[in-house]
Amino acid sequence: MATDFAFPDSAAKAAGAEQEFAPEKMSLSMGPSHPSTHGVLRLQMELDGEVLTKCDPVVGYLHRGDEKIAENMTYNQFVPYTDRLDYLAPLANNMAYAIAVERLAKLDVPARCQAIRVLTAEMARVSAHLMGLGAFGLDVGAWSVLVHSLNQREHLYKLFEELTGARFTTSYTRIGGVSRDIPDGWLGRVIAFCDQFEPALEETLSLLTRNKIFQDRTVGVGIITQADAVAYGLTGPNLRGSGVSLDLRKDKPYSGYEQYEFDVPVGSKGDCYDRYLCRGEEMRQSVRIIRQVVAKFPGGDWYAKDARKIFAPPKDKILTSMEELIQNFMIVTEGPQIPAGEVYFEAENPKGALGFYIVSKGGGVPWRMKIRSPSFCNLSILPKICVGTMMSDVVTLLGSLDFVMGECDR
């Protein structure tokens, strides 16, 4: 039987194969609604096989115009909006905003108010890191961490609710003070929380720290060099994970942080694992600070009594005394009276340095308020570090950066 099959020329075959398997890049859009992007972040990626050749983050899906809104309302009215920046740590945002305006007004708050703020900010840090830890574990396939951390966060939310009246959006601080003093016995319950939290935290972290699968997914993945971290303006655990010891609570203490002893954990390699370790250690240090605050909790006023044009008088006085009634009326209608000037204040929030730049022309309304959000800066390094990583590592990377879109988009 004769065959008419002809062997093609091998060179032509090779050329054809090359054309057929030419490295064609695939573009892939992840998000804005994707479980791994932690909110409405979209990544427009270009893939060569499994390896990223380009990554363009698309942000702004949660843009609410907070800075525009701030220009149109009084300073006190803006406090609830700060809850919705990093909505995992509203108490820390409240404090950063209040201190920024107080610096502008050259107003000092009493020691008790400072202690309350430090205490709540550290509790907010623990609760934010717990959520970040749980979500990170989830991203790399460790379900149980999320359950453990949500359980602990619930204890914190009960304490927040007792203190502020709200679990999530607390709106606790006021310019020149806080909205109410701590309830009776609350400090004891904070210590009770710390007592059961410390062993629970060790147990939770032990699920990940020496876990072979977790280490395989994170060690050496998503390395951010020290120079890159500084050049891109990273702050918080992401910067410290890369080996830069910068913690504003230590370096530019505010609200009495200089009285408390704590260590600043710093990473050595700048990979996802280092960032995880930094967050874990920060929680231990936060508990250490909480214990110190409670141990030397100062008495006295919990708001600035002399700030008559800024802080509203007590409710019972408003209802019984003419002068306080007028004072309250003026603060509500005209806003707290802040002198003209410019101020930029950064606080060490769970995600990094949250900055408020306020330009005032005097009166009760800011002329311009810029919110420098750490998540926004931390995400801006993505196009740089994603190139060359595997697609599955992008998920790890996003989890380790621990950002909040409500803060990024404002």
Binding site: V59, K68, G233, E346, G363, V365, K370
Partner: protein
């Protein structure tokens, strides 16, 4: 803070056109637009202000001169000093211009895109100056003072969806509002947050509605 003060003293020696800027906290300087890059580079390389915290802009409202000011906040990771540098934007209101600092700090990329998005400031030399928070093709710069708080009616970003649904991005439904408070020292009637623009009230329809 003394590190920042020393920095300003030596900066003024090198750049005579640098002047002090009023500030309630950290030391601040005004820099002419033409010398901005040289000043920032000197601060970064000679004074170790290696971290660019923030880039933003201020709109001083229509008629002000200069109308827009660009503001840079620098931080030193070694001496932990902070400094604020401000420069007026050149060019007309439609296209105010400042040089881009992306060549000095790659992290300025997104900050400058945001300032362009919100104020329409052109950062000359920026590698990729497009909108970041609003969508591509959005016609306004929302943080400019003439832009109303409630927003302005515009087309949807997705043309296909817009054609099919005839839907639009509409101004915020602020019944009787917007209740706007005003900045500056003024009397009670002027400063009170109230509906100033009666064309926005319940009695008459919103502009463009």
């Amino acid at each position: 803070m003394s590190a920042s003060v020393d920095a300003i003293t030596s900066l003024k020696g090198k750049f005579p056109s640098v002047t002090d800027r009023l500030s309630s906290d950290c030391p601040a300087v005004n820099v002419p637009t033409g010398e901005l890059i040289a000043v920032l580079q000197a601060l970064r390389d000679e004074q170790a202000f290696d971290l660019l915290s923030d880039v933003t802009a201020i709109d001083w409202a229509e008629g002000a001169s200069p109308r827009f000011t660009a503001v840079y906040h620098l931080y030193s990771t070694t001496s932990h000093a902070a400094i604020r540098v401000a420069t007026p934007c050149t060019g007309d209101d439609a296209a105010p211009t400042v040089p881009s600092v992306v060549p000095l700090w790659p992290g300025a990329n997104w900050h400058e895109r945001e300032a362009y998005d919100m104020f329409g400031i052109k950062f000359e030399g920026h590698p990729d100056l497009r909108r970041i928070l609003m969508w591509d093709g959005y016609p306004y710069h929302p943080l400019r003072k003439e832009f109303p708080l409630a927003g302005i009616e515009t087309a949807l970003p997705d043309i296909e969806v817009a054609e099919e649904t005839k839907a639009k991005v509409i101004a915020a439904p602020m019944m009787g509002g917007p209740f706007v408070a005003s900045a500056g020292e003024m009397n009670l009637t002027e400063a009170e947050p109230r509906a100033k623009d009666e064309s926005w009230s319940e009695r008459s329809a919103k502009p463009g509605a």
